[in-house]
Symmetry: C2
């Protein structure tokens, strides 16, 4: 089987297992791609979408939105060729020297400072957070103080400390969001959700 | 909380949830780190370890073993600073032009050809496969034909087509292995298992 055939058959199997589960057709490609990357069917029920978020995100990508991730892993997993075909790029500043220096000086996390640096980019921005609740909380703060107005926030940090809370709080912010309720998420899920939106934006099958 | 404190508290919470679950103490750091990266407690029961694999893997890392991954995502997730402190490096050849060219010529996957290229490296090797069952099947073939003798195979591809079978077959090969039985796994899990072994090799807490 060729890679595309394997992917097609995988999605057919996911459909079969999902069976009669009720899923909004616009959310389905994102939910299925999260399941495809984790084999974890919890993503059929834990992903939360703000109103019209998928249509808006697709439009933003078509308009050349750039994507900001909180980890190199999420950046590595995003289909940069498809994103570039729409005029976008992926940015991740967490490993930058100036970010590490400022985080140390200000006694905060590199993840939070990396978001501040990203907020200075002059592009429409999609944030994809798969790891750091502090990144998500920094995005919330910048939105609420009028310093950032993202096209979309993908809030899927994974873990045990402040993770559930950061996601609940993000869903209270007036911004288009896709959030995985509960502890689950990760860089792989963040990348998968970005890729699902990218493939919808370029009308790629699956 | 500082990042290290967050990690410590996360592992405490994982311990609390695992409760009385019986886990081999040598396997525990790997299982917990897989749970830490996914918040998925299935990894408490689906990870399978060949005899003495953890002791052997730690020794291999201390001897300067290099790690080969099947995806850039897994490579991105591995702690390369800790690996370098032991004399190792991470390699991933899947995006190389010569690999793409040969895969096309031979009508096979880039993942399989990337493993053939890695097998020519003159280092003790640990393979960490989080995505491609064809990579795992190529490793099996090279071992069985005497062309490869890895220190360890981490076999945690995720998915629906040939994934379960490839992992079952890997566990029949005469090689030290760590395998996630069933459909689950991923690049994040592959990286987490490598990092757990690295931290054991340098006696890092948690």
């Amino acid at each position: 089987m060729l890679p595309f055939e394997i992917e097609k058959e995988s999605f057919r199997m996911i459909d079969e297992i999902l069976g009669e589960t009720t899923i909004n057709p616009l959310h389905a490609p994102l939910i299925k791609r999260a399941i495809h990357t984790s084999a974890d069917f919890d993503y059929a029920t834990n992903l939360c979408f703000s109103d019209h978020v998928v249509e808006r995100a697709i439009q933003a990508l078509k308009n050349g939105a750039h994507i900001v991730t909180d980890t190199q892993m999420a950046k590595a997993g995003i289909n940069k060729t498809t994103l570039a075909s729409l005029g976008g790029e992926v940015h991740c500043f967490v490993a930058d020297e100036d970010v590490a220096k400022r985080a140390k000086e200000e006694g905060t996390t590199r993840s939070a400072i990396a978001i501040e640096k990203a907020a200075e980019l002059n592009y429409p921005l999609i944030f994809a957070v798969g790891n750091a609740p502090t990144a998500l909380m920094k995005i919330k703060e910048l939105i609420e103080t009028g310093k950032l107005s993202p096209e979309l926030v993908i809030g899927v940090p994974v873990g045990f400390v402040n993770v559930v809370e950061s996601k609940e709080q993000m869903m209270q912010v007036n911004v288009p969001y896709i959030v995985a309720k509960g502890r689950k998420g990760g860089s792989n899920i963040a990348a998968a959700l970005c890729n699902a939106l990218l493939y919808m934006a370029v009308n790629r099958q699956i």
